[in-house]
């Protein structure tokens, strides 16, 4: 069983969508990085990701990992945000038939799963249709 510190240290990203960007080449990173893989710069400045974007791929998970059993089937997608950042997350409040490439979505803060029988509740971002 992992200690709460592992969960706690990801909170800036999962709750507040904190990212950083390269002061040299302007590339934006989520999660934040210590060195820019594009230009090698170590001069990175704090920023936040955009909260809207489009679906660039998706799937419906029918056979889930154990901690997601009560949610299956559910959709997971990769979304490209309007600032170019790409990230993975569940796509919810959306019928499976309405999932499409290019579909506009926005980030919402949600509960993701519970860690074990008496474990902590894990929160973070999910995507919902942006109409």
């Amino acid at each position: 069983m992992s200690t709460p510190s592992r969960y706690w240290r990801e909170i800036p990203q999962r709750y507040r969508l904190e990212a950083n960007s390269c002061a040299q080449c302007r590339q934006k990173f989520f999660p934040p990085r210590l060195v820019c893989p594009e230009c090698g710069s170590r001069d990175l400045v704090k920023t936040k990701i955009e909260e809207k974007g489009k679906v660039i791929s998706y799937t419906i998970i029918r056979v889930p990992p154990s901690q997601f059993k009560d949610q299956a089937p559910y959709a997971v997608g990769v979304v490209e945000l309007d600032d170019g950042v790409k990230l993975m997350g569940q796509i919810v409040d959306c019928d499976f038939e309405d999932l499409k490439m290019g579909k506009r979505v926005r980030i919402e803060f949600r509960k993701l799963f519970k860690k074990g029988h008496s474990g902590i509740l894990c929160y973070g971002y999910k995507f919902v249709p942006d109409s």
């Binding site: 990801e10 999660p31 660039i56 791929s57 998706y58 799937t59 419906i60 998970i61 029918r62 056979v63 889930p64 990992p65 154990s66 997601f68 949610q71 559910y74 997971v76 997608g77 990769v78 790409k86 990230l87 993975m88 997350g89 569940q90 490439m101 993701l112 799963f113 894990c122 973070g124």
Partner: protein, 384 residues
């Protein structure tokens, strides 16, 4: 660098081997390779294993297996780069022999996956993806490859049936491989009607959970000539990495690590994709085989589905892929897969593959991939 040859291979029947432990499976297989080569000792050994710690609760297997093989105190090294661990074991052994550090090296892979239940196996395999930014959101390995499949279908018009054709072809080949876990044929309808796992992938698009090992003995070509065995040289080796999280790649349909590792291996061997007679590639999911074909330059981008549908990758086709049955039919004990590919290529180049033999094969290639493509190891082989 010295020229290096594969002089011995070993592999036993793969499957759900309830009555055999990790060490049993491993030692049995390693002894086969030693016997096949005719060497009387080994100088060093490498073992590819992705996750013995989760699958059987045992780390430190390099020493455990050297001991049970009766080879301690030879240096023994465990290698891990997810499902490409076996391929990397070969590469490190190749470097050790090529450099002159050692003469006879056992390169091998093993995974004992059925000592845990399905949930735990899913968890263990999931550790090859980004725990904080992929698994945290409920993705699974079939799910990651499904994301690649959806993107490939959208970008290139690849069809659901073309994906199924990969499984049909590999099961047909595997039905002629007595060591395969599932040595039977399936039809397109079987695949299309099988249980959904992660849309659009179904259970018959996925490689199985398998117990198994594979091993090979490598040595300098000069020494190989004295052993009176057919000589299969390793002429090219490539290894490359990419972002572990699929969202961080520029194009989800393109396996950059496979492209880069392939390029290095082709260049080292002085060969082009068109020179290779037989390929063993990492078809952990049907879509993977298609993306790998494109990244290795077997076909142009977006043309893999059509090539499979037209039978070009069948044993009798012009670019035979996975005559062993691939991961799909032969099974996928993750750490062992990269070495099992070598076993098949050596058999093919020795012309010992029976009914699934690619006629006149002289040049072969193995491509072994970790995670959703964040690591790839490629080797090129040549029969002398």
């Amino acid at each position: 660098m010295r020229e290096v040859a594969v002089v011995g291979i070993g592999m036993t029947k793969w499957g759900e081997l309830w009555n055999k432990s990790l060490r049993d499976i491993y030692v049995e297989t390693a002894l086969m390779a030693i016997d096949d080569s005719g060497v009387d000792h080994i100088d060093s050994m490498y073992i590819g294993s992705m996750s013995s710690g989760i699958f059987v609760g045992q780390e430190h297997i390099a020493s455990l297996l050297a001991d049970y093989l009766g080879c301690a105190p030879v240096p023994s090294t465990r290698v891990e780069t997810a499902c490409a661990s076996g391929g990397l074991a070969l590469r490190l052994g190749f470097m050790e022999v090529g450099s002159g550090m050692s003469d006879i090296v056992l390169v091998s892979g093993v995974e004992k996956m059925t000592d845990v239940g399905g949930d735990e196996a899913t968890y263990a395999l999931g550790t090859a993806a980004d725990q904080e930014y992929e698994c945290y959101h409920g993705i699974t390995f079939p799910g990651l490859y499904a994301l690649m499949a959806v993107a490939h279908m959208d970008k290139y018009g690849t069809t659901r049936k073309q994906l199924a054709e990969v499984a049909v072809k590999n099961h047909k080949n595997g039905s002629k491989n007595p060591l395969a876990q599932f040595p039977f044929e399936v039809t397109v309808d079987d695949v299309l009607n099988s249980v959904k796992v992660a849309d659009p992938l179904r259970i018959l698009d996925c490689s199985p959970i398998t117990d198994g090992a594979a091993a090979a003995i490598i040595c300098p070509v000069e020494l190989a000539k004295k052993l009176n065995k057919p000589i299969v040289k390793i002429t090219g080796s490539g290894h490359a990495t990419d972002a572990i999280a699929i969202s961080q790649r520029k194009d989800m349909t393109w396996l950059e690590s496979t492209y880069k590792a392939g390029k290095s291996a082709y260049e080292m061997a002085g060969k082009n994709p068109g020179d290779i007679d037989v390929f063993e590639v990492h078809d952990c999911f049907t879509i993977a085989e298609l993306c790998v074909m494109e990244a290795l330059g077997l076909v142009d981008k977006g043309k893999s589905g059509e090539a499979v549908e037209r039978g070009r990758t069948a044993v009798e086709g012009d670019i035979p892929v996975n005559p062993s049955g691939g991961l799909k039919s032969k099974g996928h004990p993750v750490g062992a897969t990269g070495i099992a590919q070598v076993v098949e290529i050596v058999k093919q180049l020795r012309e010992e593959s029976g009914e699934r033999q690619v006629k006149g094969a002289r040049f072969g290639l193995t491509q072994n991939m970790g995670g959703s493509g964040a690591s790839t190891v490629v080797h090129v082989f040549e029969r002398e």
